[in-house]
């Protein structure tokens, strides 16, 4: 309780008391933030564990249906419709990378090696990461809004009332579709990124197309391709879980749905970049 009266100096302790109160409030707010973050992490972990459990049951218990039709429908919704956007973005990334590196490489007379830089950067990092960021806005927000609206319209309650588990029925198809499609999209992104870089190298920097392709092929190994795919799968899982978690925890009507949608995109982007950083450190340390 504050010992101040409106428009006056504190009764006891003066400015130092106000300062102590502010610090105390800041500590309390920080404590609340940490508590909420731990709660969200716990909730996400529980959701993930439950989704994996239902997936395994769907695969190995004959009475439990995995919902292949539902997974296919989500794959179309999540992935197929995102292909044109991801192609466009990745071509731009290839062009940007090539043009950004060109002046420095020209200084050393190594302009041909732009193929190596674009190839490795796209296959290992930018293909999966940029595809995931696009997908978090494209599919993550849509999943969160859809599930959030279902919560508000009592559809989730209706599912439970019909003895249908919402995690089995809603989360499993969405996370499987996102993981599978983002892995596939990463491959498309790799090709388009290299294509964008090659286009710039050939038509702007004057690199021979055969040399470009040969240098790309020589620079890339299976390891580069596979690490990109592993990242893409993990990114897909992250996006789907965050979107489903935010959607399932919606409260407060249309405003709550809006908050969940925004929250999904923001948290996904932060989580994707943080996870990418962790992957890169691990791959660097273990020379993968």
């Amino acid at each position: 309780m504050s010992l101040t009266s409106p428009g006056s100096e504190p009764v006891v302790g003066g400015r130092s008391r106000q300062w102590v109160e502010r610090v105390g409030q800041g500590v309390l707010d920080a404590g609340r933030f940490v508590r909420n973050s731990i709660g969200q992490f716990g909730g996400l972990s529980y959701l993930l564990a439950d989704a994996v459990r239902w997936t395994l049951r769907g695969l190995f218990v004959p009475k439990v249906k995995l919902g292949r039709r539902s997974v296919a429908a989500q794959m179309v919704r999540v992935g197929v419709r995102a292909i044109p956007i991801i192609c466009l973005v990745q071509v731009f990334i290839g062009v940007i990378l090539a043009l950004s590196m060109a002046p420095t490489l020209e200084m050393y007379g190594q302009v041909d090696t732009v193929a190596v830089i674009v190839g490795i950067a796209v296959f290992r990092e930018l293909g999966p990461l940029i595809s995931a960021i696009v997908l978090s806005g494209f599919a993550g927000a849509s999943i969160a809004a859809e599930i959030g609206s279902m919560v508000e319209a009592e559809e989730i309650k209706a599912l439970r009332a019909h003895a249908l588990n919402p995690i089995h029925f809603l989360v499993v198809p969405r996370y499987l579709a996102t993981v599978l499609m983002l892995t596939g999209l990463a491959v498309i992104a790799d090709v388009m990124g290299v294509g964008g870089g090659m286009f710039t190298a050939v038509y702007v920097l004057g690199v021979d197309p055969t040399t470009y392709l040969q240098l790309t092929q020589d620079a890339l190994t299976n390891k580069d391709f596979l690490t990109g795919l592993i990242k893409a799968a993990v990114f897909g899982l992250l996006i789907a879980m965050l979107a489903c978690y935010e959607g399932l925890n919606v409260s407060g009507g249309a405003e709550g749905v809006g908050r969940a949608t925004t929250g999904t995109v923001v948290k996904s982007i932060v989580a994707l970049i943080a996870t990418d950083c962790i992957f890169t450190v691990i791959f660097y340390v273990y020379e993968i």
């Binding site: 279902m150 009592e154 209706a158 009332a161 019909h162 003895a163 588990n165």
Partner: protein
Amino acid sequence: MADRPTGEPGNLSPGPGADQREVRISVRELVKRFCDAEGNEVTVLDGVDFDVYQGETIVVMGGSGCGKSTLLNCLIGEYVPDGGSICYKTSDMDAPVDIARMAEHELNEVRKKFGILFQSGALFNSMSLAENIALPLREHSYVDPSVIDIVVTLKLQQVRMLEHRDKMPSQLSGGQKKRAGLARATALDPEILFYDEPSAGLDPVTSAAIDELMMNLSKMLSVTSVVVTHEMDSAFRIADRMVMLDRGRVLKIGPRSEFEALRDADPASLSNDADRLMNQFLNGHSEGPLTDEAGMSEFEKLIVRG
């Protein structure tokens, strides 16, 4: 939702003054508490006791915040009670089961025995009407799709919605959504039907039509119905027995005739405050809690304040 304890057989002893019909649901000393925004504990249901008998339609009513919806959520297993028991006994059960002490997978087996009509209809917006009704059948049975199609047609005929079978929920009116919700609720041929504010938000004509449909279905399917509502006209049309809740407690339970007599009585002739308050409520003159936290009625407060 809190974790559910492991299931164990429940006790289905009839309550005081019970009749000889078979008890389908027995609620005993039901307590449910929530925490408010400041972290204070609020008791929403405070020792609720009542029985629901085979084939009857029981209407739970009360003012805003009396605990009707919380009670319904406890009955359908959406909320885990903090105390007391909710025992179910359907025709294929050897012994009654207490859903308050059941694991989720056990509860799901009980849930297949009942249907629920939600206030908004709660149809799945991404599916057509026929797909909505087919969903529980598709997920809980391995029957041929052609058989499911026949059942869907039958259920839609029962609620007079056959011509709308391929429409999406967004193309339906409020009343049509409720009828479609009712068709879905009866898809698995339930023994118990729950209705959450079935006439809320409907015009009087549509509301009367929904009531008639509910009564016809109850007769046709021989189901036991639990209806939560605060629409008095609807309640008096459909009820066999009524339960009046106030501040999380059962204020009165009895046959419809008793409540009709109470509604039609001259307030001056009523001997106690509770009856006078219920008379007011049943005549639509009171909305909120009938008593305050200290158990003081509006009449008592008026007297105290002069």
